[in-house]
């Protein structure tokens, strides 16, 4: 059995992911390219009886000169023969209705002496537009096999597999020879590194700082040669592009039998008139946003409740059936609820990404970027920040990973920095309980729930904080890098549902893996802190509680709950809570809330279960039970209720702004390549939370 490595290359919106999905089906996995945080999608495909291929899906690019972090990987792999992902053959996928633009990259690959096959996609649209091509002539002119496909419907895929299985030769053509532009530089670099293609040497000189495989010495050498011979990178790159387009125009003139009519895009143009209209455009965008949130919260409720019940059941079953001992206790009350805490967010994340994938598939997303860019730039963000910010309302982790499409570092950094201020779904259980506790259940005008208004207010508060923080960052961060938004506006199309499905699986997996490992690790640490304390106190817990409550006539269950509360109070977590009470007293919090603040540091929703334990409710998640119990809690100093509106609002504001999510910090560290930004973010958000809660409490109290 022969094994081949095949790379898929093409510009964005050319149908590359559809082709990848067609070739690999479910046999795909997402990994990382070594050393950098770019998702690497690979999969396996049986080309014929005796050939199997590993398909690598490279990020969508217009040319070998990258604009974003993601795109850099392509030139890095294709100019480095020692790279483990260096392909045996490349399939370039091109949009037949927009060939001119797609061929630029293809001619660069030819000059790198790489074996290339051209897959002409969207032949259905080409037919619709009246475009007629001489495929054989195209194949001759380019010196490579050309296969017509329709990646959405899977047509022509078998033919493409056959061509790949036969083995692909290097095209004999040379389209751009860097002879007139610094010929001596190119020759010297080519000889020094023993490169087969002059164009490869040209790329080494052009992109010397971007190619990670070059050593410090290599770089010094290349720069020295370039300097000695007056190499002007931008000018030469411009000359190269014009030269390539001249070649492409000649090819197209020869192969286009009948050119496309312009009218087939008519429906798309009319849609744009409405969807980018100054009134309707925004109205429709906000209606779509509203629909997404309704679905994320309403549709996800049923599976979330089921997961919640399932894990609570599993946890208590294990607690009852596993042997006694700290190890088994760790499993039943540390690890299992920890895993449950991750799984429970899957429905919301899956639904959110289903919508985002549909918006992207249809081509609407680029209109959102178009509509929002001007507004977002006022805050130091870009139109491309809209998607991460919206995703942040489900979960900041996939949202921060989605910022990779922002090409400008400053705009991307600001987006990463403010995304966790968007109220994510983990804050919802905390909000739900506190809002129910302090806002009366009345309806305004008979149908608007006051509690609902308060909840919406909290989301708006988070959003406002994100925008204002962005403004602050814009003033503080000094990065001299050009920001640009040269973006294709694709023709509107119906989404392809299997692509939507693949996106959901991919994003959910990323969340489970990234957030999962941190949440589990931290829940184990917190479980230890909350279950252990000084041995003598913990060991005598039962006796002490029995003595204290001897006259109260408690039932067995009530007694057990009291013991649990007593143990938590005297555990290490409880000790820390009491120790930090002076610091949080000005916010209106006592040590019991302090314990909840600590345990919810890993993930905010833990607040609810901690509060349940500390108020001796046993392990209940019934919000009405918790609510009633909290209502009855008395503040020993005032004799009034502990959870006054002032304390409630203070807590709400604290949870709106506080970082309180280890996994987000871990992802930010990964995406910004260092501890600096996650730490700045942690300090900033905690400071913001503390100050705001302080002001709220002091004003209201």
């Amino acid at each position: 059995m022969a094994h081949l490595k095949i790379a898929l290359v093409g510009k964005p919106n050319s149908g590359k992911s559809s082709l990848f999905n067609q070739l690999t089906g479910l046999k795909q996995k997402i990994g990382n390219f070594p050393g950098i945080t770019v998702d690497k999608r690979t999969g396996f495909c049986q080309l014929d009886e005796s050939t199997e291929a590993e398909i690598i899906d490279l990020p969508g690019i217009y040319s070998l000169y990258p604009r974003t972090l993601d795109e850099k990987i392509v030139v890095e792999i294709l100019t480095d023969r020692r790279n483990p992902d260096y392909p045996d053959a490349i399939a370039v996928i091109a949009d037949a209705t927009n060939l001119k633009n797609c061929l630029l990259l293809l001619t660069q690959l030819v000059d790198l002496r790489l074996p290339v096959v051209l897959a002409l996609n969207m032949m259905d649209l080409a037919a619709k537009s009246g475009l007629s091509l001489d495929i054989n002539r195209l194949s001759d002119e380019l010196g490579m096999p050309v296969v017509m496909i329709n990646a959405r419907e899977g047509k022509g895929i078998d033919q493409l597999k056959r061509v790949l299985a036969r083995g692909v030769a290097v095209s004999p053509k040379e389209i751009f020879h860097p002879a007139n532009l610094g010929e001596s530089v190119v020759r010297e670099v080519q000889q020094h590194f023993g490169l087969t293609a002059p164009y490869e040497a040209f790329q080494y000189v052009q992109q010397v700082d971007r190619l990670a495989f070059l050593s410090e010495g290599d770089r010094k050498f290349i720069k020295e040669v370039a300097k000695r011979n007056d190499f002007f990178p931008y000018k030469f790159q411009g000359v190269e592009t014009i030269h390539r387009y001249a070649f492409i125009q000649r090819v197209l003139d020869a192969v286009i039998i009948k050119s496309a009519r312009g009218d087939w895009k008519g429906a798309s143009k009319n849609l744009d008139k409405i969807l980018t209209h100054r009134v309707w455009g925004y109205t429709i965008f906000f209606i779509i946003l509203f629909l997404i949130f309704q679905s994320v919260f309403a549709l996800a409720q049923i599976p979330m409740d089921a997961i919640d019940r399932g894990f609570a059941g599993l946890s208590s079953y294990l607690a009852g059936h596993l042997p006694e001992g700290p190890f088994f206790e760790l499993i039943s009350s540390g690890i299992v609820p920890g895993i449950g805490g991750i799984i429970i967010f899957i429905p919301q994340i899956a639904i959110l990404f289903a919508f985002i994938a549909i918006l992207e598939e249809t081509g609407y997303m680029s209109r959102v970027v178009f509509l929002m860019d001007k507004i977002m730039r006022k805050f130091g963000l870009s139109g491309r920040s809209v998607v991460p910010l919206i995703s942040g309302m489900a979960c900041a982790i996939p949202a921060i990973m989605a910022t990779r499409t922002i090409d400008n570092w400053k705009e991307r950094l600001i987006t990463i920095f403010v995304t966790p201020l968007m109220s994510c779904s983990a804050r919802l259980p905390v909000f739900a309980i506190l809002v129910a506790l302090i806002i009366p259940k009345v309806r305004l005008l008979g149908f608007i729930s006051l509690q609902g208004v308060a909840l919406m207010g909290l989301y708006l508060l988070g959003f406002a904080a994100a925008l204002l923080s962005a403004l602050l960052m814009k003033a503080l961060v000094e990065v001299r890098e050009r920001s640009f938004l040269i973006m294709e506006m694709p023709t509107y199309r119906m989404p392809k549902w299997s692509n939507v499905g693949f996106t959901i699986i991919e994003k959910t997996k990323a969340f489970v893996v990234e957030a999962g490992k941190v949440i589990i690790a931290v829940s184990i640490i917190l479980w230890v802190l909350a279950s252990y304390g000084p041995a003598d106190v913990m060991n005598s817990a039962r006796k002490t509680v029995r003595e204290q409550t001897a006259t109260e006539g408690l039932s067995e269950q009530e007694y057990e709950n009291r013991v649990a509360a007593y143990k938590l109070e005297h555990s290490y977590a409880g000790t820390i809570g009491k120790w930090m009470e002076p610091a949080i007293r000005p916010l209106g919090f006592d040590w019991k809330i302090g314990i909840a603040l600590i345990t919810s540091f890993a993930a905010r929703e833990v607040f609810v279960s901690t509060i349940a334990t500390i108020y001796s409710l046993g392990s209940t998640d019934e919000s009405s039970t918790i609510k009633d119990r909290l209502k009855d809690e008395v503040n020993p100093e005032t004799g009034g209720p502990r959870f006054t509106p002032a304390v409630g609002f203070s807590l709400l504001v604290f949870y709106t702004f506080a970082m309180q999510c280890m996994s987000t910090l871990a992802v930010v560290k990964r995406e910004t390549k260092g501890w600096k930004w996650p730490l700045v973010q942690l300090v900033y958000m905690t400071g913001l939370a503390y100050t705001s809660a302080l002001i709220v409490y002091q004003v209201l109290a």
Binding site: N98, K100, Y234, D272, K273, K374, R482, I486, M489
Partner: protein, 67 residues
């Protein structure tokens, strides 16, 4: 230029940006059509060599048109 108008590209004022624009098909001598602008006047949507692109005003303003 006003929405709906077309013009021929004659050059660029910004070398660094011009390489990106060239790659997207903004070639000297080719026709660019101003389709429409976003509600706040920026960015703009233009048509170049068979497809639609959005550009920020400051990017579009580096393109010199022949007239």
């Amino acid at each position: 230029m006003k929405p709906g108008e077309s013009a021929v590209i004659s050059g660029f004022t910004d070398e660094q940006l011009s390489v990106k624009l060239l790659e997207m098909g903004f070639l000297p001598g080719s026709v660019v059509r101003f389709n429409f602008k976003a509600p706040f006047g920026d960015p703009v949507c233009v048509h170049i060599s068979g497809f639609d692109l959005s550009l920020r005003l400051e990017e579009a303003s580096t393109i010199i048109i022949f007239d």
